[in-house]
């Protein structure tokens, strides 16, 4: 193993970003196996929980830029996982809906992603996993506001 300088290893921001790299790598491999990508999962997760929403809403709820939502919805529509139609009550909006195939796809990805969580937290006992989740949630909520 290689030793990492204390100036890095001692900083929570370092631990966080480096661990996020691993998390991201694990998730990406998982996405690749089922032919999806991070942005796709995020969009589908919103659609499944909140029904048909506009793309702007999609971006807000999945923490994505509007322009990135466009690309994600394009790709998902090509694969038949979502449908995009103009909102009759507000013709600026596109109402995006999850198709049956999309719903099945989402469940498939979600299952695989569950195993990723296990790999990610592998060395921690259940209690520590809960503590970690709680602390991270607390921090994230705090930074979402500001």
């Amino acid at each position: 193993m290689v030793e990492i300088p204390a100036r890095l290893a001692g900083k929570p921001s370092w631990l966080l970003t480096q661990l996020a790299v691993h998390a991201h790598r694990l998730a990406s491999e998982c996405f690749a196996e089922v032919g999806a990508r991070g942005h796709h999962f995020r969009v589908m997760a919103v659609l499944e929980e909140f029904g048909a929403v506009s793309q702007a809403e999609l971006g807000r709820r999945s923490n994505m830029d509007r322009s990135d939502v466009v690309a994600a919805v394009n790709e998902l529509a090509e694969q038949g996982f979502v449908e995009r139609e103009q909102d009759p009550r507000d013709r600026r909006r596109n109402l995006v809906t999850l198709t049956g195939a999309g719903s099945r796809h989402l469940r498939r990805v979600d299952r695989a992603l569950g195993e990723v969580q296990d790999d990610l937290l592998a060395p921690l006992p259940d209690e520590d996993r809960q503590t970690l989740t709680r602390l991270l949630t607390q921090l994230l909520t705090h930074h979402q506001r500001a």
Copy 2:
């Protein structure tokens, strides 16, 4: 505030990567203020703790790709913060050393980065901060091996 779907908010990998985005943003602002960048800090941190090392070694200890080390060392050398010379004992290697100005620069960046940690962990009491650091360190060490 906007509600995030449970399929996202419940996953440690999501919490981790999203929080890493905030950490990264805070750090980037900090770097920008002193005219530095993430890669620069990493390289300088290694040099300060381990002395003159080769670029390959630099990459291993700061978790960077060799090619990215090249760019970082180029930029740091232009600013006079590091010096690059051929290792007389192994002419494949470049020995990189931190200059006096580099050392001062590192300390400046490090100090600013300290405040970032505080912003990042703002809502947590001291005890929780230590717990979080411990858990993250544990996970990171685990994933470094594999």
